[in-house]
Symmetry: C2
Amino acid sequence: MQHSVALLARTPAALDALLRDLPEAWTNANEGPDTWSSWDVVGHLIHCERTDWMPRARILLQFGETRTFEPFDRWGHASACQGKSLGQLLDEFSRLRAENLAALRALNLRGEDLALRGRHPDFGIVTLSQLLATWAAHDLTHLHQVSRVLAHQYREAVGPWSAYLGVMRCAAH
Amino acid sequence: MQHSVALLARTPAALDALLRDLPEAWTNANEGPDTWSSWDVVGHLIHCERTDWMPRARILLQFGETRTFEPFDRWGHASACQGKSLGQLLDEFSRLRAENLAALRALNLRGEDLALRGRHPDFGIVTLSQLLATWAAHDLTHLHQVSRVLAHQYREAVGPWSAYLGVMRCAAH
């Protein structure tokens, strides 16, 4: 769990360093209809901080397998973040992440707590350990997505070099 | 070109925020035999700063199509970076990138210069514009790789959630 927390604590600063004040031609661009821009990704990460990870951990700890997690709204960030600048979203993500990691530490989880079980709306039984590992891996999947979405804007510009750039061949959408 | 420079200027800080002092269980791990860890990726980026982007731009500007770029050694970082900590590599990457961007600015390139042509050992004719765009997209392909390599360590830990994590399905190696 300490490895997950080490990563979770770093993601806001990493996205901030990459995206803040980058030209909007980069940050507002996506991969086509119904795909996300970097702005959407940061909005989505905020929405997850509010409605997914720690809320689900609390349901699991309080109700175990008897109460299913609330389903997550994949487009929930669109209305919640409307009108906000990317800079505002980066600030909000950083603040919420710090609050959630403080709340996680305050739970004083012991090793055996990580095996506690809850119920996911699609997967059924999951453990607290899996939930917390997914929180960290989910940061990575969206960092992976942001780098791919940014690179997408350069598909033509790089000419023949696209053959050597793995990110241009990534189909992990 | 200003868009490329905006991204190129941010990558060292983004990798620093993500990787510095992250446990070595994350940063030394790779995806299996003959694959790269985060340490290798930062070493490779350093090797590119030394032997690829600006050296090739100078060959192109001086010799045009008449002189082929030096071939790039994909494992060249291994000996050059041997024994260095990830923190040292991050410092070195940041310094070399800043120096190279200063050198690029000092060239005072005009719009028409971007169409100038050089010769790549595999692709043949390429333009300065393509070379500079590739410098930026190459940062993104390795940020994409680092997030995938880190996520690879969590394939088992996330349990059934791996189905929802695109990074776990990425085959853009």
